[in-house]
């Protein structure tokens, strides 16, 4: 190097470059990721030395949008936070409104909510199992799993008219009733899919799949508790938690004896996958119980939605449900004038994505896709704003507090 030196010779530092290390950008656009997240992975040959998780590529400002809408418009907005667990979001939001407004939905409505909830869990878990198979390079299992998932989506279409955004919930009840034919179709489908689920469980224990998933991406129980991971990610690491059992909501109160929590101790990718497969079978049991116990009566309130909305006073509350990916928490603060002061959404991916670092360090590059997929990340739910200064290519992440201050004009 015989370049002219800039500055004093004292400023020139000897930089040690370790050429054995390679920093690979894993994302934000990568075939293994269904949504944009950037993992900056440092590797030596195939071994992972360090991981840096960068979020913020798809922030949509939903919480701010909610503050400019009325309560019912927000119901449709929160449904669009996630395409997979749309029903969890609306249930969580509607429960908060019902608690504030003192509205008691009918028994039948609660049971129907729970029915859709469990169907949604099945479709979400099947979706993930398919992706897991795809990431492990097992396309046939991927195709088969999604083939089975179509049955569940057909059920959604029969019951609610929509395959993805079901729009089932409304304040004080649900929007669609089920007919005896639908119940018959549901139980027939349950019979079909049960066989397929057992087959999927068998195939996941195939030797090549096991080689890819066992003892990969291990998250110990202590680390899981420390990072507050939730849902199947926590249950795979031996943390016995489930909102459905611990803080029952909707019809889970009455199904108390039937909710059984699947827990595995190993904490590897296979344990998390196994938890999900067994939860599929648990969901079938729950759905059968729901269809058996389904009470009669109205499904929504007699009063119109507009009148109900006007009745909701200024108050605040916290609502919690067990979404397919784990605990979903809403903080809702109404303003008493049909609108919201504040909506705070804490999706399960926010705590779960932190678990990726301890999982990935020490693994191989080949393990990244399956490990990332095993927490079932939903990035759109978990993002903060990143501001990139194109002049010097500096990126800074604006946290919630700063955003809050900016919006209120330094009020706080």
């Amino acid at each position: 190097m015989k370049k002219p030196m800039i500055g004093k010779p004292d400023d020139v530092k000897e930089i040690q470059v370790d050429y054995t290390r390679l920093r690979i950008p894993f994302g934000p656009v990568h075939p293994a990721l269904k949504e944009p997240v950037s993992l900056r992975v440092t590797v030596r040959k195939e071994e992972i030395l360090d991981v840096d998780i960068v979020l913020g590529h798809v922030h949509r400002g939903i919480e701010a949008l909610a503050e400019n809408r009325n309560l019912v418009q927000t119901l449709y907005l929160v449904e669009r936070i996630c395409g997979i667990c749309s029903h969890s979001h609306t249930t969580c939001y509607v429960q908060a409104l019902e608690e504030i407004g003192g509205i008691q939905p009918s028994e039948r409505a609660l049971y129907l909510r729970t029915l859709i909830f469990e169907l949604e869990r099945m479709h979400s878990h099947l979706f993930l199992l398919g992706i897991m198979a795809y990431e492990a390079g097992f396309d046939t299992l991927f195709m088969f799993t999604w083939h089975v998932r179509e049955n569940i989506l057909d059920l959604f279409e029969t019951i609610t008219g929509n395959r993805v955004h079901h729009s089932m919930n409304t304040v004080g009840g649900v929007r669609w009733n089920v007919t005896p034919q639908m119940i018959e179709k549901t139980s027939a489908t349950m019979k079909n899919v049960e066989k397929s689920f057992k087959y999927i469980y068998d195939v996941f224990q195939d030797k090549t799949v096991e080689k890819r998933l066992c003892e990969v991406g291990v998250l110990s129980g202590d680390e899981a508790r420390e990072l507050c991971v939730v849902g199947p990610t926590a249950r795979g690491s031996g943390v016995d938690m489930d909102v459905r059992r611990d803080y029952p909501y909707a019809a889970y109160n009455e199904l108390e004896g039937d909710v059984s929590v699947v827990v595995r101790k190993d904490g590897d990718v296979f344990a998390r996958t196994e938890v999900r497969i067994l939860e599929l079978l648990e969901s079938i049991n729950l759905i059968r119980k729901i269809l058996e116990k389904l009470p009669g009566g109205p499904i929504s309130q007699e009063e119109s939605l507009l009148k109900l909305m006007r009745k909701i006073p200024e108050d605040e509350t916290v609502s919690m449900v067990e979404a397919p990916r784990g605990e979903l928490l809403y903080f809702v603060k109404t303003n008493g004038r049909e609108g919201l002061w504040r909506l705070k959404v804490r999706t399960p991916t926010i705590p779960n994505v932190l678990g990726l670092k301890p999982m990935l360090i020490g693994c191989e590059i080949a393990d990244i896709p399956v490990t990332v997929a095993s927490i079932d990340p939903c990035m759109a739910c978990a993002n903060r704003i990143t501001i990139v200064d194109s002049a010097n290519e500096e990126a800074k992440i604006v946290g919630l507090d700063a955003l809050w201050r900016k919006r209120r004009g330094g009020e706080k």
Partner: protein, 316 residues
């Protein structure tokens, strides 16, 4: 037909047959997954479409190597496939052409490797190192399995000599000699890795390293690489048929199939072997990790190929 004209015709024949084979592979793969699958001539559409696309060479790439390597890979594997094919048609061969064919096939993987690493992309670099390990893993058992032919009963590394031995015995080598059967098994086990099919598509695993060595390739370069891959899998399966499973030998002395019949029977056997060694594994297995694949190749196929050499020295 004279030899020169046959050789000249062998190149377009290799092009058409190998792309058709790829089409059949994709169709059968889809049907096994309960999908409809693309039409059998889809690889031709892909080839033409890719050739009409823009040529993009990344700034970080060393452009000469990057653009030359797909051509080298395609040329080497087409030549590698054309030699055994024209041997069957003309019923002659050059002395020691088996070594040439194996070199050409190795050449095609090495060209892909070098081209991928010259792209300047970190995924290309990882793909390069993975491909290097894979080449070491499968080439060694493959070559040793071929070496067993040099002993008993052929005493030759010339393709048509091996075929002639099988015709004289009126039975394919794998059916008549234990050493032949063992060597054929080792060779067949090496085919999925050489053709870069799941579970051994580790160098270009799309969910892990974004197609690894192919990451920066597109347009005509990608078309050539796809052609090289299709041709080399055809070459490998056709080679295994000529060396170990020359099925026309079974009919020798009973019915005369003629030149065309022999060739068609060979192609049909090659297609069957391709479905067995490429399509079925890629349908029923998940992708392995590089360490697991390496271990597999250095335990089972290597042991088998060494055993085949020992057996053929013993005259079995």
């Amino acid at each position: 037909m004279n030899t020169a004209a046959t050789l000249f015709l062998a190149f377009p024949a290799v092009f058409i047959i190998s792309l058709l084979f790829e089409g059949v592979d994709r169709k059968v793969h889809a049907r096994m997954q309960k999908r409809i699958g693309p039409p059998i001539i889809q690889p031709f559409y892909d080839f033409i479409k890719l050739f009409n696309k823009e040529r993009i060479v990344p700034v970080t790439a060393s452009s000469r190597i990057f653009t030359a390597m797909p051509l080298v890979a395609a040329a080497a594997s087409i030549l590698g496939a054309a030699i055994p094919l024209s041997n069957i048609i003309t019923e002659t061969s050059i002395v020691g052409d088996l070594i040439l064919v194996l070199y050409l096939l190795a050449m095609s993987s090495i060209a892909l490797m070098v081209g991928g690493s010259s792209s300047g992309n970190p995924y290309g670099a990882i793909g390069f190192s993975r491909k290097m390990s894979m080449v070491i893993a499968y080439e060694v058992p493959m070559l040793i399995a071929i070496v067993s032919l040099a002993f008993n009963p052929c005493h030759s590394l010339t393709i048509y000599d091996v075929v002639w031995t099988q015709i004289k015995m009126r039975s394919p080598l794998a059916f008549s000699y234990l050493s032949g059967a063992v060597a054929a098994t080792a060779f067949l086990l090496c085919i999925p890795a050489a053709a870069m099919a799941v579970p051994f598509d580790i160098p270009e695993a799309k969910t892990e390293v974004v197609h690894g060595i192919l990451v920066e390739y597109g347009g005509p370069y990608l078309a050539l690489i796809k052609l090289a891959k299709a041709t080399s899998s055809f070459a490998l399966t056709f080679l295994v048929v000529t060396l170990f499973f020359y099925t026309p030998a079974l009919f020798e002395g009973y019915v005369s199939l003629g030149h065309g019949g022999n060739l068609l029977l060979c192609l049909a056997t090659a297609l069957a072997f391709m479905l067995l060694t490429i399509t079925v594994p890629r349908t029923v297995f998940a992708r392995l990790k590089i360490g697991q694949a390496f271990k597999f190749y250095w335990i089972i196929p290597l042991m088998l190929s060494v055993a085949s050499v020992v057996l053929s020295v013993l005259g079995l």
